[in-house]
């Protein structure tokens, strides 16, 4: 491995020179981990995530990480991540679909335990019936646990969100974990161009004392003195403490927004802001939405795209502003329930203009033509369906 030097986080994320490589999404995530000065990674296999943690294991073997092991199962992996982060180190893991849900009791407690870490979520179907294909319904489960949830469209996003994820997660006024989600296979196993920071530069190490909640390492005076755990003091104390603590977790989540602006250029990207009709999408659906905007332009239809990068915190203000004058809002998704459409409907006042769909699930691809059909509908254009046999 090349000798890595520590550089300022802002410099690495915003100014450092970048080199263009043609790599898979799994490689992009591992390349970000390589530059993030991660101390420990804990792995457990599940398709399609495994590739990421294989590559991170290789990084450990090369000396980029100080510790790495294959855990017994996801609940064990996610619990051990919590233990390691409490011990003051920087930690990373990744999972997919059923693995996310198996680890979810631990994951859902990370924000409340104030565990800054990055979790890769490489989406797939949640059983049953069994499929291992890239459906992203698991993101719906992540939305209400307090984590910061970023949704990457492509390999470049995976690299950027993962590297910035560590920095955002450890900010003193944030200090909750970041999930970097992207569709399995479509992104993890496909190649795209990624502009990457130099391999010989890395983030500064985690400083566990720059924290709203100190690490559990017996190093910070004063020592703990005898005190009651809230739950046994009284039910009144336990619900009061839980309530104020969770309020702070969600306030931390909202405070992450300024760092999402600083490091990721904001929670949304808008293509053609003066459009009459908008496609609002995240992850791979945003890539298809981008294509649909191009098709529409070729046909002279005024269609725009809002790509949502940050699902938590959710950019309510920004989305309300962009969609203010839109005639219709089309929300294509890679899941059956339409969690993003629900978010949009809950965000804008005139939500009867939201068209939830097209949706594909079970891991199917999302043809641009499906989005075009919705666009023709809202413009009142009748097209004859051509069936090619």
């Amino acid at each position: 491995m090349p000798e890595q030097r520590v550089v300022d986080a802002d410099y690495l994320l915003l100014e450092a020179p970048r080199e263009r490589k043609f790599i898979t999404g799994a490689q992009a995530m591992a390349e970000a981990v390589k530059r993030a000065n991660v101390d420990i990674a804990i792995a457990y296999p599940i398709t399609p995530q495994s590739e990421v943690m294989h590559l991170v294991g290789d990084l450990w073997a090369q000396g980029y990480l100080k510790d790495y092991y294959r855990a017994e199962e996801e609940y064990g992996a996610m619990s051990a991540i919590a233990g390691a982060v409490r011990g003051g180190v920087r930690a990373f893991t990744a999972t997919s679909g059923p693995g996310l849900l198996r680890g979810f009791e631990a994951i859902a407690s990370w924000p409340g335990h104030r565990i800054p870490a990055v979790l890769g979520v490489l989406t797939r179907v949640v059983n049953a019936p069994l499929s291992i294909q890239p459906d992203n319904i698991e993101i719906a489960y992540l939305l209400n646990c307090g984590m910061i949830v970023l949704h990457a469209e492509n390999q470049q996003d995976v690299f950027d969100f993962t590297l910035a994820g560590f920095v955002i997660s450890e900010k003193v006024d944030v200090y909750i974990p970041v999930a970097v989600c992207t569709e399995g296979f479509f992104v993890t196993h496909a190649k795209g161009y990624v502009n990457m920071t130099p391999e010989d530069m890395k983030l500064p190490p985690r400083d566990p004392y720059k924290a709203p909640v100190p690490p559990t390492d017996c190093e910070i005076p004063p020592a703990r003195i005898q005190r009651d755990a809230p739950v046994q003091k009284s039910n009144f104390m336990s619900y009061l403490i839980h309530a104020v603590w969770q309020q702070e977790v969600w306030a931390s989540n909202r405070r992450a927004m300024k760092y999402i602006y600083k490091y990721l250029g904001g929670p949304i990207e808008v293509v053609n802001p003066d459009a009459e009709v908008f496609i609002v999408a995240s992850g791979c659906a945003a890539a298809q939405g981008r294509e649909a905007v191009r098709y529409a332009q070729m046909e002279g239809l005024n269609v725009g795209l809002v790509k949502v990068k940050s699902i938590r915190p959710f950019p309510e203000k920004e989305i309300r502003e962009v969609l203010k004058k839109a005639k219709a809002v089309i929300v294509p998704e890679h899941n059956i329930i339409g969690w993003l459409a629900r978010e949009i409907k809950a965000t804008i006042p005139d939500n009867d203009k939201v068209i939830g769909g097209p949706r594909v699930y079970g891991g199917m691809t999302l043809p641009v033509e499906l989005i075009m059909e919705k666009i023709y509908d809202v413009f009142g254009i009748k097209k004859e369906r051509k069936v090619v046999v």
Partner: protein, 288 residues
């Protein structure tokens, strides 16, 4: 950080809580107290909400008096009665999720080893029979298979006491408990043999009848875990409520069980035995 961690900054003595000042002046930090001196020093755990006559509370009191390095020890627990006392001690305590103790301890111990390679930082799990052998079974076993260097202590009350008296894997066969309305259908799990097979380097089983021996066993388990690998203590800590043991009969019950299935048992690898012989020659601290 050791003792610096508990020392009071000059000038602040009169502003610190009385409990804290007493712990610094009369507590066990930085010195080895003898368990027979209980009552003569400021203990790491005092108030607790455990039931009258609870033998687990007694065991935990001895546990804190026995720690070889209380200023650099982190205790990990899970749901159950034990954490009611553990969470009130003057030693950092981590309460994670249900049955996750040995996974959390694995991550924590590794992190402390990365950050403080030259310091002693003891990690000790104390959890019940349900936490370690039922819900946390996989994580308990795998921490042993991986040879994680921390101590696991099972305070076995043979029941889910904190949730109202349900059967656990460690309840004896035939005992009628909640969720076992016809009596437990299978034998008490042999945790000690599992620990040996899974790779623990020091394994002990005891009924808490002899405080000096409990303290020595706990110290041995912690010292062996520092240097060699996982260690395990299986302690009988009866639930006088769910098993209807009169408060004044709990010691009698422990003695009875000691004669039956909780006879004192200690097993260790040869290298651990040699290590104890060596250090016990040098010090009175862990003398048999």
């Amino acid at each position: 950080m050791g003792l610096e961690y508990v020392r009071i900054s000059p000038g602040f003595e009169r502003y610190m809580p009385k409990d804290y000042v007493d712990l610094v002046n009369y507590g066990p930090f930085g010195r080895q107290v003898d368990v027979q001196q209980l009552g003569q020093f400021k203990e790491l755990v005092e108030e607790h909400p455990m039931c009258a006559g609870c033998f687990m509370a007694y065991f935990i009191r001895i546990f804190y008096a026995a720690l070889p390095n209380p200023e650099d020890t982190i205790v990990i627990g899970t749901a159950g009665c034990a954490r009611l006392a553990l969470s009130q001690a003057a030693v950092p305590f981590v309460y994670g999720n249900y049955g996750d103790t040995n996974a959390v301890a694995s991550g924590l111990k590794r992190a402390l080893t990365i950050r403080f390679p030259d310091k002693v930082k003891d990690v000790v799990v104390i959890a019940g029979d349900g936490g370690l052998i039922d819900i946390g079974f996989g994580m308990t076993m795998h921490s042993w298979f991986r040879r994680e260097k921390f101590t696991t202590i099972m305070v076995d009350n043979e029941v889910y006491g904190n949730t109202g008296g349900q059967e656990s894997g460690m309840s004896p066969k035939g005992v009628q408990l909640k969720m076992a309305p016809k009596g437990k259908q299978f034998d008490k799990i042999n945790a000690v043999e599992l620990a040996k097979v899974a790779g623990c380097v020091y394994v002990a089983k005891l009924a808490p009848t002899n405080p000096k021996r409990i303290a020595r066993t706990i110290r041995r388990a912690i010292l062996a875990a520092r240097h060699f690998g996982p260690t395990f203590i299986h302690a009988y800590t009866s639930c006088n409520i769910e098993y209807s043991i009169p408060t004044d009969k709990v010691l009698e019950d422990a003695r009875k069980r000691e004669k039956q299935d909780f006879a004192f048992y200690e097993w260790m690898t040869d290298e651990v035995r040699e290590y104890f012989e060596e250090i016990e020659k040098q010090s009175q601290e862990v003398k048999v």
